[in-house]
């Protein structure tokens, strides 16, 4: 084993492998930083370049890229509140608020330090765990995966802000969204309303980008502020502060690395789940939870450690047992095959040095990327203090093109816009957004594994006669009790409106409640028409929970509205106050801009619409002079054409004018 490790290290550091590793790192930093791309996409695009290469440099290139996307994805998550990849969703919750407080450098310092730690520790834990990997993986069957997804969903309790009821209801909505498209168990399409785009389900990337990214950009535009609400002279922070934070919270870092490595080993539990689990653990294990969601550094440390450790954790089952745990590792498995290698015992015996060279590649890549990004971050964090109107158009273009990558379809933009609108109203109305994302990530896993468990093990027996299931059920119970205890202990008089789900604006919340109630009611009615039990079962179960909860919220919101009307001496005054508080007129104008962008896209395509949007925004919202606006717009055009059109080969919208 030791000899294998040393031989592997020698292979990784040899030429040209080290050169390809560095190239992979540079590409990976870019791939992770640009929203919508992700490690799997990067692997898919780079894989053909490895045809004809020797195995060690080929994997150095691929793994160098793949390993660091979970490091650089925190750039847009922290700076703009937009996840760079699905693995950085949870990082937004506290990373972006830190940026708004002028502490982006601190967040970056912590994120990159723990990313390096997580990646290296994950790789080492992996190597040390080889003897137990297969028994560990085999201990988790479909019932265990179902229970793990339920356990994951209990994190809703810590993500719900002020209202647990609203959090659970939003989670139900998220679960319902996962049932759109073909049901896996029956092959019957659900809730697609004759729209082909929906047959494969709603892709998650446009939802996440829209739900988190658009409201933040809208807020910057409407409030005419920089990303940081604090001027640099008064509230700045340094990278070193973030590194010190990591040392202070070292045991959380270690635990998060363990979560990432061992959860990452389990096939099907991708990075998107791992970072939420780590975040939830950070909240639950904290004595003082009050700052989570408003800029608690632990909310950056935990997910960023876990999502890097996860990459290493997912590799060994792929290589050693031919068990790919995710789309990315499935592509790596393909790469193995293309190199003429077979996963399995050979990779742990005659090719052990090659296996370890992969482990070392991940470890080295994480260290190098973290070092590079730390060095670069002191400049990067200055973006937080730039005028918001300069930042918004560029980031909006990147967000929309990131959404477009999902299926190269205008449907991706409509989903992003719809979710963005919903996200903005949710934010203003005190509805937490993270439970929706958590449910989206877990919903398919939950339904599929439930259906499989009942088919293989019967209706209920597997719930009480499997040891690992019982352990997970105990964890679920503890988590739920802790969440309820937190609700009971919460200060009811607190009117602080910082963090997700804490806004108090009942006249904005009530319409959301009504729309959700109507949605759930219509969906329930539709499920009664499904001919097959397996098609209806999961959405039906979700709706049975969601409907009464939404009715309760309707009562609460109605009372709150009546209270607000009385306090304001009339509905008109109350409505006016609510609208002003939510900046609705300006928000609607911004939405109008986006709709105009969409309309122009139908007419003339993205290469016209996006630069025109940028120009129009800068001139009207930012009051910039037209030469500067034009230069920005032309740069946008070149970026979209060169990167998305030529390099990524994306298919642009077929426009009316140029079809």
């Amino acid at each position: 084993m030791i000899e294998g490790m040393l031989d592997g290290l020698a292979l990784s550091l040899g030429w040209p492998s080290i050169g390809f590793l560095m190239l992979g790192i540079f590409v990976g930093i870019w791939v992770g930083a640009v929203p919508g791309l992700g490690g799997a996409m990067g692997l898919a695009l780079m894989l053909p370049f490895t045809f004809g290469m020797d195995p060690v440099p080929a994997f150095a290139l691929l793994l160098g890229m793949y390993a660091v996307t979970s490091t650089s994805d925190s750039i847009s998550a922290i700076m703009f509140g937009i996840p760079g990849t699905v693995a950085s969703q949870a990082t937004i919750l506290d990373g972006y608020p830190l940026t708004k407080k002028g502490q982006a450098a601190r967040a970056f310092g912590a994120a990159y330090t723990v990313s390096a730690f997580g990646g290296v520790v994950g790789a080492l834990l992996l190597a040390a765990s080889l003897p137990i990997v297969l028994p560990f993986i085999n201990a988790f069957g479909v019932p265990e995966f179902f229970m793990l997804s339920v356990l994951g969903l209990t994190m809703v309790g810590v993500l719900s802000g002020r209202s647990l009821l609203k959090g659970i209801t939003v989670a139900c909505f998220g679960l319902l969204l996962t049932t759109v498209g073909y049901a896996n168990a029956t092959g019957v399409p659900r809730f697609y309303f004759g729209i082909d785009y929906l047959l494969d389900g709603i892709p998650i990337i446009p939802i996440v980008l829209g739900l988190f990214g658009i409201p933040e950009l809208m807020e910057i535009a409407v409030k005419n502020t920089s990303i940081s609400r604090v001027a640099p002279e008064t509230g700045g922070s340094r990278l070193l502060d973030g590194i010190k934070d990591v040392i202070e919270h070292r045991w959380l870092t270690v635990r998060s690395a363990l979560i990432g490595t061992y959860v990452g080993m389990l096939p099907g539990l991708g990075a998107a789940i791992v970072d939420w689990v780590a975040y939830g653990h950070a909240v639950q294990s904290a004595r003082d939870k009050s700052q989570f969601g408003s800029g608690d550094i632990r909310g950056v440390i935990a997910p960023e450690t876990a999502n890097n450790a996860h990459k290493a954790g997912a590799l060994i089952p792929t290589v050693a047992f031919g068990i790919p745990g995710s789309i990315g590792t499935a592509i790596l498995l393909g790469a193995l095959v293309i190199q003429g290698l077979r996963p399995g015992p050979d990779m742990l015996t005659i090719n052990l040095d090659l296996t370890f060279s992969m482990v070392w590649a991940i470890a080295i890549a994480n260290l190098v990327a973290a070092g590079l990004l730390l060095a670069f971050s002191s400049q990067l964090q200055k973006i937080a203090f730039l005028p918001g109107h300069l930042v918004v158009p560029g980031v909006m273009v990147v967000l929309l093109m990131g959404a477009w990558i999902a299926t190269n379809s205008i449907g991706d933009w409509w989903v992003a816009l719809a979710m963005g609108t919903l996200g903005y109203i949710m934010k203003q109305g005190g509805w937490p957004r993270p439970p929706l994302i958590l449910a989206l990530v877990l919903g398919v896993l939950m339904e599929d594994n439930y259906q499989l468990s009942t088919q293989i093990y019967g209706e209920y027996a597997w719930l009480y006669n499997r040891p690992v299931v019982l352990v997970i059920e105990a964890l679920i119970l503890i988590t739920v009790l802790l969440a309820l205890w937190g609700v009971i202990k919460a200060n009811p008089k607190s009117d602080a409106e910082a963090g997700e789900g804490t806004a108090i604006n009942p006249l904005v919340s009530l319409p959301i409640t009504v729309v959700l109630l109507a949605t759930f009611a219509v969906a329930y009615w539709i499920t009664t028409g499904f001919a097959q039990r397996a098609t209806a079962q999961f959405p039906h179960a979700v709706l049975v929970i969601a409907l009464p909860l939404t009715l309760l919220i309707l009562l609460q919101d109605s009372r709150a509205v009546l209270g607000a009307v009385r306090a304001a001496d009339g509905f008109g005054a109350a409505f006016s106050t609510a609208v002003k508080k939510a900046d609705l007129p300006a928000s609607l104008t911004f939405l109008g801009f986006l709709l105009a962008l969409f309309g122009l896209t139908y007419v003339a395509g993205q290469l016209v619409a996006l630069p025109v949007f940028v120009f129009a925004y800068l001139v009207t919202w930012g009051s910039y002079r037209w030469p500067a606006a034009l230069a920005y717009a032309v740069t946008t055009l070149l970026l979209v054409w060169a990167f998305y059109g030529q390099l990524m080969n994306l298919l642009f919208q077929d426009s009316w004018l140029f079809s």
Binding site: A44, F51, D196, Y197, P343, Q532, L650, L651
Partner: protein
């Protein structure tokens, strides 16, 4: 004198050859001119990195060298609609100029059953060439010790993705024709998940691609004595009769397996349906097609070049590296016939299939 005569003869021969060769050169020159400097876009209905995507990328890399004029070929992913979106796009939007092609896993079941989402008519899209992706069935040794025990073993579970997936349909028909007592378990996300479930002992039988078998299943299960290969799904000849695939090596064809365990050739309603479905949903997995209305002469060029790729030693070597074997090619005529067959569905066949699928929903 000899030299002079030789020189004259040579001149005559060369002139004659030139004169005879001019039309061919002109044709080749025209062909090259059509594609030279152009970009040919290949649309794939799968996400980047998936099996279908990688197959298309590997093929495109070599295809561009064999098309006269050596255009640049790029791959664009158009996932969605359960794999049907790319065909709809090709049929309704893409230019029919030979510079826009589809190379994607076919939606045979969707076409046969007229499922929602598929508007393209495969029979109207010029078929350029196709590749088979051979597949096979195997069983874990948890409940039996030899392939022959399949007919008498109890409690077997055959796992798949969903009732309309081709592996699931063919697997069920094959097992039902044999009279195997099994439970059908459905809802796995993909072949890798089914393989994991077999490994854990939760299910027993899987129909998997031959590539997955060679690279994952054989080294980790079969060679460890934990699984036994059963049969491979055969190809279908122009006469409509199934034939064993050479690439499957020592894995018997379904007919051979049937006869070895039952002592007689396969027969029965389920077998007839299995035979009927094979060329329509299984024989062409990756199909290269052009939008309706693509000029015939351009289609011919593409067909010839497609065939040339399948004979190219460089491509064949890389295909063997990627899949473990060469994907058997399907020619234009046979492929076109297969596509037309998707719409020639007798009423009783359609009714049987719908009932057969609904039975397990």
């Amino acid at each position: 004198m000899f030299k002079a005569r030789t020189a004259f003869s040579t001149t005559l021969l060369v002139s004659g050859a030139l004169l005879c060769g001019v039309p061919a050169l002109q044709g080749a020159a025209q062909q090259a001119a059509y594609f030279e400097g152009e970009r040919v876009t290949i649309y794939v209905g799968r996400t980047p990195g998936s099996g279908g995507d990688l197959a298309a990328r590997l093929f495109a890399e070599h295809w561009q060298r064999h098309i006269p004029g050596e255009p640049t070929m790029i791959v664009q992913n158009l996932p969605g609609g359960g794999g049907t979106r790319v065909f709809n796009y090709a049929a309704e939007v893409a230019d029919a100029d030979g510079l826009h092609l589809v190379f994607s896993p076919t939606a045979g079941v969707e076409a046969v059953l007229k499922m929602p989402g598929l508007r393209a008519n495969f029979a109207e899209m010029p078929f350029i060439g196709g590749l088979m992706s051979p597949n096979m069935a195997y069983v874990s040794t948890g409940k039996l010790s030899s392939a022959e025990d399949l007919l008498t073993a109890e409690g077997l579970r055959f796992a798949g993705q969903n009732p309309i997936a081709r592996f699931d349909l063919l697997g069920r028909l094959a097992l039902d024709a044999l009279g195997v007592d099994y439970q059908y378990v459905t809802g796995f996300q993909g072949g890798a998940d089914v393989f994991n479930a077999v490994r854990r002992g939760e299910v027993d039988i899987q129909v998997a691609s031959l590539g997955q078998y060679r690279f994952s299943i054989e080294p980790t299960l079969v060679e460890e004595g934990l699984a036994i290969p059963l049969w491979h799904n055969p190809g279908t000849g122009p006469d409509g009769e199934p034939y064993a695939l050479e690439v499957a090596g020592d894995i018997p064809s379904y007919m051979e397996f049937y006869e070895s365990v039952k002592g007689e050739p396969p027969s029965g309603r389920e077998y007839e349906m299995f035979k009927w479905l094979l060329p329509r949903v299984n024989d062409i997995v990756y199909a290269a097609m052009a939008p309706p209305g693509t000029p015939d002469d351009v289609v011919e060029i593409l067909r010839e070049s497609f065939g040339a790729v399948t004979q190219d030693p460089e491509y064949r070597q890389e295909a063997i590296k990627m899949y473990g074997f060469e994907l058997p090619p399907i020619g234009a005529e046979q492929g076109s016939e297969m596509m037309r067959g998707l719409y020639d569905v007798p009423e009783d066949v359609e009714a049987f299939l719908r009932e057969y699928i609904d039975r397990v929903r």
